[in-house]
């Protein structure tokens, strides 16, 4: 009669969320498809001029990935709230923040990772120079988990409300402004042949901070949201 060890609990939760994501593979493809559509529209709107597309490629890919992630963010806790799994998770004899961290990790793996894998294709469509590609991927690798972590806190806050899609975007905007600035700044600097390490380092520092604080904030927010 003893409660489950932490590592087993983490693994069980991660496996559950990834299994669920895999059983609904169609939902995973949606954000990628959305990003593809948005990226396709840019040349139509701005003209197929190579120089112009090249100049905006990095920023467009970043913003598109962010919007695609926002699309999937709303669903992070929704089904868990509806079927009562979240209550069971909150009541489990495990640190809630860590459990939520696992959920955020699973969500990142299921939504952001496919987008990062698709990013070279999106950037290629807009003629991003090949040498800049690694910087873009690095920026995405740091920026997307940041967005997942920040987004999770906000989704937890709106967990007690009915519809939250637009509200979530409104709440996320101020938080993602610095993320977008530094991620796009790194790509732009690399494209101009300037040193790009500083903004990447800022992103890394922010990610390290968010990794520690966001799950705790998420747990606190969720307790507020469930307290009804």
């Amino acid at each position: 009669m003893s409660s489950a060890p932490l590592s087993i609990a983490c693994a069980a939760l991660l496996r559950r969320d990834l299994t669920l994501a895999w059983r609904r593979r169609g939902d995973i493809a949606m954000p990628v498809l959305y990003a593809l559509i948005v990226t396709t529209l840019f040349p139509f709107a701005l003209g197929p001029e190579d120089a112009l597309l090249q100049r905006i490629a990095g920023g467009v890919v970043l913003v598109t990935v962010l919007l695609a992630m926002l699309l999937a963010l709303d669903a992070m806790f929704r089904s868990d709230i509806e079927d009562g799994s979240l209550e069971q998770l909150v009541l489990a004899p495990q640190p809630l923040a860590l459990m939520l961290g696992m959920k955020i990790l699973a969500h990142w793996l299921a939504t952001a990772l496919p987008l990062i894998l698709a990013a070279p294709l999106l950037a290629g469509m807009l003629h991003l120079p090949a040498p800049v590609m690694p910087v873009l991927l690095l920026a995405l690798l740091l920026a997307t988990p940041l967005l997942s972590l920040l987004g999770a806190v906000l989704v937890a806050l709106t967990a007690g409300t009915r519809r939250s899609g637009m509200l979530l975007a409104l709440m996320l905007l101020p938080l993602c402004v610095p993320v977008v600035i530094f991620a796009a700044g790194a790509v732009a600097a690399a494209q101009q042949g300037l040193p790009w390490l500083a903004p990447i380092a800022w992103l890394g520092a922010a990610l390290a901070l968010a990794l520690v604080l966001a799950p705790l904030a998420c747990a606190a927010a969720l307790r507020i949201a469930l307290d009804a």
């Binding site: 009669m1 409660s3 939760l13 299994t19 669920l20 799994s85 009541l91 004899p93």
Partner: protein
């Protein structure tokens, strides 16, 4: 049952428990004590706060007024997590996972009771043959049974069961009573909400009356 409780250790004690929603009292003040080996039936009309009481006891809702003590010491949110098992209106089952997978996750989070075996327990609860069926394909009663299986698999002293008899047929109701009997015999305790009359196999349960 009443004779046994005189010497049994006190598990849960509530003094002047009250809960407000937007300054409207939902229930209370409520006083009760629960000893090891006791089942308490929470009775009251619709809207009298039975579910709210259970959610407060589970730690899902913030306690406004009154005092709660668990095993003699002041109650805190995490002080008895792992000691309790909550079964609410929402069963906490993932529709896309099979019964077996759902239970495996529950064991991963809550730990496994000694000797608990998923296949054997599912057979005991009347779900053999449905182990690998996605929960979405089960009937309402079968889903309830699948959720009840957690009671047999996970270690806990206090069960908080919100309407455990809902959606169950007669054999299902007997099954719940049987589970409760086994649990109290082992020194566990339970709070159960229910509308209808419940026939317990032995003794009269303690009653907590909510003022509607």
């Amino acid at each position: 049952m009443t004779a046994a409780t005189a010497t049994a250790p006190l598990l849960l004690e509530a003094r002047a428990l009250s809960f407000y929603r937007q300054d409207e009292p939902v229930f209370g003040p409520l006083d009760f004590r629960l000893h090891a080996g006791e089942v308490a039936l929470v009775e009251g009309d619709n809207g009298s706060g039975k579910t709210t009481l259970l959610r407060v006891l589970a730690g899902l809702l913030h306690l406004d007024e009154g005092e709660l003590r668990w095993r003699g010491s002041s109650w805190q949110r995490d002080s008895y997590s792992g000691d309790i098992l909550f079964l609410g209106h929402h069963l906490g089952l993932k529709a896309d996972l099979s019964t077996r997978e759902n239970l495996a996750v529950a064991i991963g989070l809550y730990g496994q009771r000694a000797g608990g075996n998923i296949a054997r327990v599912l057979a005991e609860i009347g779900l053999s043959g449905y182990e690998d069926e996605p929960v979405r394909r089960l009937s309402a009663g079968q889903k309830k049974r699948a959720a009840l299986t957690r009671l047999l698999l996970l270690p806990a002293t206090l069960w908080l069961l919100d309407e455990p008899y809902a959606n169950l047929d007669r054999t299902g109701i007997e099954l719940v009573n049987h589970l409760l009997e086994q649990h109290t015999a082992r020194g566990g305790a339970a709070l159960v909400t229910s509308h209808g009359a419940v026939s317990f196999l032995s003794g009269e349960p303690k009653r907590i009356r909510m003022h509607g």
